[in-house]
């Protein structure tokens, strides 16, 4: 995934699209004030320097899908692992809720269900049926909308053709009104993401940690 910060208007459409797509529970203002909000995709303020010489940047932050993730190593039960697509996956129904992965992730992209996930009555009917809801006491995280890949694959199979890159994009990328987010196969050196990732403007978050994130940001004059 490539996120062009020069195009991003920080409208948070990606955040909202993600909440709706992935059945993320609504926890209410009281729990939220305690710091228990779940955001698989979150807009984080990245502020450098001191007032008045501040350089502020707003970063949409999904899971970094590291090639060398610190979270998968520490899970005692293989509930988080790198799947065959190279995505860092989370098995919610195996997770024992020890929260080791949440503390090990330097990007703090993992979230814990402190309470039983709940939705307002009116919303229950409109939950996404492709995404299982979680129980209390387990960890959840951004999956790059993996369910969409499964669905696209099924569809391609039925139609008797190969999976095309445009068949599968995550909800956040789809929702971005300014076209700041790109999604594709980084291994395919002709893909848009691959080309963009080699741009001069490209950087990754906390690159120095050696986690090798697969989310690449673009920004002029970093």
């Amino acid at each position: 995934m490539v996120i062009d910060l020069d195009k991003c208007s920080a409208c948070q459409a990606c955040v909202v699209a993600c909440q709706a797509e992935n059945n993320i529970p609504i926890i209410g203002p009281k729990q939220s004030a305690k710091g228990r909000t779940i955001h698989w995709m979150e807009l984080i303020p990245y502020i450098e320097g001191e007032y008045p010489h501040i350089k502020a940047r707003l970063l949409p932050r999904p899971c970094m899908m590291c090639d060398n993730p610190p979270c998968t190593k520490v899970c005692p039960v293989y509930a988080t692992y790198i799947n065959e697509e190279g995505l860092v996956a989370q098995i919610n129904h195996r997770c024992i809720g020890c929260r080791y992965c949440t503390t090990a992730c330097p990007y703090t992209v993992k979230y814990f269900n402190w309470d039983k996930p709940e939705w307002p009555k009116e919303m229950k009917g409109s939950l996404n049926r492709d995404v299982s809801t979680r129980t209390k006491g387990v960890v959840e995280k951004c999956t790059f909308c993996h369910h969409r890949l499964l669905r696209a694959r099924e569809k391609a199979k039925i139609e008797g053709r190969d999976l095309l890159p445009e068949d599968y994009i995550p909800a956040c990328v789809q929702a971005c009104p300014s076209g700041a987010m790109y999604f594709g196969d980084l291994n395919d050196s002709f893909s848009a993401v691959s080309t963009l990732s080699r741009e001069r403007r490209a950087f990754r978050l906390l690159e120095e940690l050696g986690t090798e994130p697969k989310v690449i940001y673009l920004s002029e004059g970093t």
């Binding site: 729990q31 305690k34 710091g35 997770c95 024992i96 809720g97 503390t103 330097p106 402190w114």
Partner: protein, 444 residues
């Protein structure tokens, strides 16, 4: 038989707690049971509601329970390690204190493990640890290491108990069948003694590396991550030293209580407290050394991320915890333990209670500030433990005390046969031993 009868007279006081139980025992037992019941009720509440009832939130995913886990596992180093080292060093003054130390180890381990289980979001899935175990996770190293430790320290507690159980089998009126089974047919023959000594010596050696490994891998849970101020090579030895430190303190407290309650002033003498006080003093200094080394390197390196956490401990929100830890772990115990005049049972008790509180704070100061300051900007969340978490800590302590009390009612808390052996054999042995040290005496 008549011979052993008369010998038992001397140590009859050691069997008294088993034979007679007074009102104060039942009174304290019922108070502690009330605390335990309360904690059980609180835990059931947490089990139903989820961990939302705690003060935890993102990014402070770990709090009091993990602190308790590290703390209790630390306390467990009291026993086995100290007793094993004293046994191997042939320190004669160990005889009346080893048992009370070993019991702490075995009993307190359950609460270390218990706190981890209570910290799980889905305790009903805990067997996934066995079904899907991933050995790359330091938590699995903990599981393995603690299991081995529990097994070996239980054996190490049980072996020296056998001759005492045999005494109980022959003398105590009640529960004879129980003691008969546990005594494993001990008759006190030469051969049996020889085998027992061999087994004890073997276990004493085995248990030392196991104990060291336990607290090392506990520290690895933190040190193996790349989080600032956790990712530190010093953590293994730092945790082991801290564990022995708090362990000795716990032992001194336990000995003080036993001494007063069961009137064992003759067995647990000021010299025992003086000697353990010196050990505790050494550990106080060692603890200071490690803490100093840990913080000075961070401070001198001056990485912004590390400095944020460092200042949050020195002057920020965690300053009360940090300086509290420093006062309780160092400022209070150091003068008390340095002076011979205050290295009395009472003096060492005060120092030990201080160390125990200080070491709990130390674990807290390690776990929470790092999580409060993650690498990426985050909402500022201040972690304040709720009454739920405090109740469970109180319940754990109460439960531990109850188990310890019950142990003293079932088995002698001072090893009868070892004290007797000291009286009968060691006097001469020690004299012989000293001769071998001295030039111009004994054989070459």
């Amino acid at each position: 038989m008549a011979d052993s009868e008369s010998k038992l007279e001397e140590d009859a006081i050691l069997l008294r707690p088993i034979q007679r139980t007074g009102k104060p025992f039942y009174l304290s037992l019922s108070i502690l049971l009330a605390v335990i019941l309360w904690a059980v009720f609180v835990y059931l509440h947490q089990y139903r509601q989820g961990l939302g009832v705690t003060g935890l939130a993102r990014p402070i995913f770990w709090g009091v329970y993990i602190t308790n886990f590290v703390f209790f596992i630390g306390i467990s180093h009291a026993g086995t390690l100290i007793s094993a080292i004293l046994r191997l060093a042939k320190a004669e003054w160990r005889r009346s204190i080893t048992r009370s130390a070993e019991v702490i180890t075995v009993l307190v381990l359950f609460f270390g493990v218990g706190n981890i289980l209570m910290d799980l979001g889905r305790p009903d899935r805990m067997f996934n640890i066995i079904l899907y175990s991933q050995f790359r996770s330091p938590l699995l190293w903990d599981v393995s290491s603690i299991t081995v430790y529990l097994a070996s320290s239980s054996i190490y507690l049980f072996l020296p108990l056998i001759p005492d159980i045999a005494i109980l089998r022959d003398h105590a009126g009640k529960w004879q069948w129980f003691y008969r089974i546990l005594a494993l047919g001990w008759q006190g023959t030469e051969r049996q003694h020889h085998l027992l000594e061999k087994a004890i010596a073997f276990m004493a050696i085995l248990v030392i590396p196991v104990a060291v490994s336990v607290h090392t891998v506990v520290s690895f849970v933190f040190a193996m991550t790349i989080q600032p101020m956790w990712h530190s090579a010093i953590f293994g030895p730092y945790f082991v030293a801290g564990a022995i430190f708090s362990g000795i303190a716990a032992l001194i407290v336990a000995m003080n209580v036993i001494r007063k309650v069961y009137h064992l002033e003759d067995y647990l003498r000021p010299v025992h407290f003086n000697n353990l006080g010196i050990l505790l003093l050494v550990m106080t200094l060692l603890w200071f050394y490690f803490t100093f080394a840990e913080y000075i390197t961070v401070w001198y390196g001056g990485e912004p991320l590390h400095m944020t956490i460092l200042w949050s401990k020195f002057t920020g929100g965690f300053a009360p915890y940090f300086w509290g830890m420093f006062v309780f772990c160092f400022v209070i115990p150091l003068p008390i333990l340095s002076l011979k005049r205050t290295r009395t049972p009472l003096g060492t008790l005060v120092a030990s209670l201080s160390v125990i509180i200080g070491m709990w704070l130390e674990r807290f100061v390690i776990v929470v500030p790092t999580l409060t300051n993650p690498r990426l900007p985050n909402e500022t969340v201040i972690y304040t433990p709720t009454w739920i978490e405090w109740s469970i800590l109180a319940g754990c302590i109460a439960f531990f005390i109850v188990l310890y009390m019950i142990f003293t009612k079932v088995f002698p808390i001072v090893s009868i046969w070892e004290v007797r052996e000291g009286r009968e054999k060691s006097m001469a042995e020690v004299q012989e031993r000293i001769k071998t040290y001295l030039p111009g005496m004994g054989e070459e």
